[in-house]
Symmetry: D2
């Protein structure tokens, strides 16, 4: 409460909290009165206390996420995608082209991923593009190519879901659904994939706090789907020498706050091929449970994100470097 | 090109641009070579030049938005909502509760809005909430209440559309669709409302650049719907003494870049009732074409955003202050 | 404390607080224990509690600034510069060239400022420039010109102090010292001007929080100099369509938190001449106690910040527009 | 130029560039005219082109830094501090307490640093503190302790210089001067240390771009001192779960742009002891030439930054982990 709050104002706040069914503790010993509300965070957080006369500020002490928190489950969750375990010491390499452009291009990329030891093939069929005039993806046709290529080379596949109306198609064709950064707070979509029979990879929004990422995951978990992989992919800051700023500190923070696996997308954070490897190495060293990397047979001819895709011919060496680093960190590549 | 680029590298870039059908100008006079690509921005922007050997950086000189640009239409677009003109010198007050909670609450808020001279009633039926445990809105029942109240008091109404599957219901019940900040880059949703027979208010994402906001509007316009109102509502920065940082400079920047009306939501930027008025005044002084303000009969009992809603009883005085300011700026309140 | 904290860990924290001479309140009623430390903020803030086993987080409830807070003095401080009152309802226009380049240029700018009703002449003699190859200011010669021109036209003058070794020269020649954004946390310099016999204008650092700005002012006030004017000049964000993002919300936040006058520099936030007026209008409408604006007789030939300076010939019209706005806000131009 | 620019406006811009002594190339082939100015960046950058009628925007293609750029010197600079090489494949561990509090505390910290293989002892004598009521450092007495301890254990020493008036004392007592983040744009101080006979470690400001950091280094180099080590220590973003956001991407960007060594301070970015190691590992994996880490014999009793200091007893294990990682990256610990 403000130092100038009247006893009546203090009493009014106490009444509001009690009426909501929460416990109250009042500490009037100092220069100003501190009121503690003890009870379900969802109830207490719902109280409009900041609008009440005499209130200086409201400081939440309890976290709003439950099912995804370490308190809820202390052991690491291991998410299995097409037989490959991710998390809990199992390090996974997910890779593939930014966009599915054709069967041939996807196959070439997939073969490089498989040969290098990757465990999941990524590829965009529905593409979120800043410009309406840019290539928007092959849609359902892309899903079919992705599935066929995955079966051909023996890799589970994942693609981005942008629209709840495409959920059935996506579930039919892929082994894991991914929710992109721009949809991290598309709450309806989160609830839908929370009811889908597939693991979900949830990418952090470019201006989402770690807490908001966990609340987004809670939307998925609340519907019963606990097979969630979180993905840090860079946040938006004033610095423009990289496309986004990889928040490498979020990795250990998330490892402490949640039992879910955390992977990192170095490609989008980098925005430029020469920066992908250093960011990937940093992510692994900071404790990431996996990477998701863009690789294309001929980046110069890619229809999207050309600048940041690693040529398929170099992907084996890329993974070998990562695995050398992994060896000194006590984690094992998932196979 | 890098200073170290070889003639072969320069020639390769020139070839790539020419193959794409764009013109090329090469300036090799200085320490390093500058290559200009002249042609359709969508084509040139699609070229993966940053991935090509020898390229130092790619600097776009032409804007990617077309239909929403001032170059496309030099005169201000006036969007008419339920008979009230917005933009082109017509200043509009849009107001109403954060969420539609009941008929009575919505009616009380609407009557205050009408009495004060507001021209559009806002109210959320589908609510994007950070927490899955928070009030999520009344949905279709909320739309019905909003329509009934609008008709009762004689105000056109607007509500947020979060999901393309609700588009028909929303079109049936409201006079203007609004797209929230978290969906500013939900490109499918943008294209859908681009085909809907209603004006669209598009809120800026909390980490979207001005250019990205215009590209999002371009998605709507590309489908044929030019009745678009842009809304600045605060961006995410390091500063936390306000809920968001109102980017007041975006108002004159947008006025120069686009012919679309720009309104401002001071409530979400402020996050606190006492800050709503100063931010509203600032927005008006900087040239906004309107405001969208949250007002509630009894904020203390609001189910969402309680701290930032203006009590309905004070709303008339709020509008009167705004109109006094308006009088010295050469704009007229829309009626 | 963490939910997993042991009683011994709780007891250890209590001991640490008590040993520091602060009171303690322990609330162990809920899922986890909350420990309140009651006492001097400087003492409590100095405790290394976040390093102690079992501690989840430390939440400061009391502000660290004292002398500059509203609690310390509830009435607005009015700072007088050369006879002109600033703050407490007195609105001041401070203006002049970015840099002092010559007697003639400074005089021309000053005459326009005086004619328009400005009350303080600004001009940079020591210039903080990003590049060591850019014009660095005329130094002492600039101070002499500034003083001579101020005396000639009858305006008090202010200049930026960058280096404590120049303090004597600056005190000798100007009526108010200004501390630039890049030196807002140059704590030695703050303490020095806290002992100087001149009012101080303190500009907010480009990434300083409102609280850090107030703590910087506290450094000045602690040494005995309470004649402090705070200046908001835009913060650094991801948005680059303006040079900085004017944090217009900081104006009402500061008015609530401190008794010191708040002025705004729209020129540096804008970075472009056409944006200066809208930002200036916004600042005035949001409650600023004054403006500091760059104006130059021939901006095209300015040696620094050419793009954002208002031509002296247009400055009278600029001020007239501001004063029309001021008239509806209940403040009076300082003379 | 704007599409609407007149031939006279184009001609005027050409004249301005030519008068400044730079070459001009005009490309009028497209929808709008592009004017290239070819010549010394310092001259061209000084032209007030953005203030000139008809100009749409000014895009700098050449970098403003010279002496610190890779173009100026392609081989890595190796800075030697007290006989230990830093950079060019030599990885250096700099460590010590946040503040020098006493001879005993500094000695205990230094012995742990020496034993673990650290090559430079750090310790703050002049402390930049947000609050004027916090411990401000021991000053000259601190310098004496630092020198004595360094001699005792056989480690070169470094301390932060905040004020040019302390330069002589600092030069007399330490082997390397460090400039803190808050003084990265204290240009006078930069020029002073550019003339000092000591290597300089320059920390990146919390909201400084990579380019601004390099321009700050250019201030030092311009005066003749090329023994500069750059230090990334976290930037300010919206995310608050770490004290700052470590910009790990800046490491490879800087390695490409400059020949100077880059070290990383994981302690200040983390703000919390448990996060220091993951950030340190990330920095090493991303290619840093060294680390500067805070370590204290008893962090619980530290007078500053208690939460983020590593206990001296654990420092050996910390360094051993770092060196295991280093072994797979092809760099050698400096001794």
């Amino acid at each position: 409460m403000r130092a100038s709050a009247t006893p009546a104002e203090v009493a009014h706040v106490v009444t509001l909290i009690e009426e909501a069914g929460a416990g109250v503790h009042v500490d009037a010993g100092g220069e100003f009165t501190v009121i503690g509300a003890i009870g379900d965070r969802a109830i207490v957080a719902g109280l409009p206390l900041e609008a009440v006369a005499g209130v200086e500020k409201v400081v939440p002490l309890r976290k709003e996420y439950k099912r995804v928190s370490r308190e809820f489950r202390s052991r690491d969750t291991i998410v299995t995608v097409g037989g490959s375990p991710i998390g809990g010491g199992n390090f996974a390499m997910l890779a593939g082209p930014c966009s599915i452009e054709s069967y041939e291009q996807t196959l070439a990329s997939a073969q490089a991923v498989k040969a290098a030891g990757g465990v999941v093939l990524r590829g965009g069929a529905y593409k979120p593009r800043t410009s309406p005039y840019a290539f928007q993806g092959l849609g359902l046709e892309g899903l079919r190519i992705l599935r066929a290529v995955g079966d051909e080379v023996g890799l589970p596949v994942t693609t981005e879901l942008m629209d709840a109306r495409d959920l059935e198609d996506v579930v039919e064709h892929v082994d894991m659904i991914w929710i992109g950064a721009r949809n991290m707070q598309n709450f309806n979509l989160l609830s839908e994939v929370g009811r889908a029979p597939r693991p979900v990879m949830l990418k952090r929004g470019m201006s989402a706090t770690v807490e908001e990422l966990l609340m987004a995951a809670e939307y998925v978990a609340k519907e019963g789907n606990d097979d969630i992989i979180l993905c840090e992919r860079g946040i938006r800051t004033f610095e423009r020498s990289t496309r986004f700023t990889l928040d490498v500190g979020a990795i250990p923070v998330l490892k402490a706050e949640t039992h879910l696996p955390i992977i990192v997308d170095p490609s989008h954070a980098a925005g430029k091929r020469s920066l992908v490897m250093p960011l990937a190495m940093a992510a692994v060293a900071a404790g990431a449970d996996g990477l998701i990397v863009e690789t294309h047979p001929t980046p110069e001819h890619a229809l999207s994100d050309a600048a940041q895709q690693i040529p398929s011919a170099e992907f084996g060496a890329f993974v070998a470097d990562i695995e050398r680093l992994l060896a000194v960190t006590g984690r094992t590549p998932s196979r």
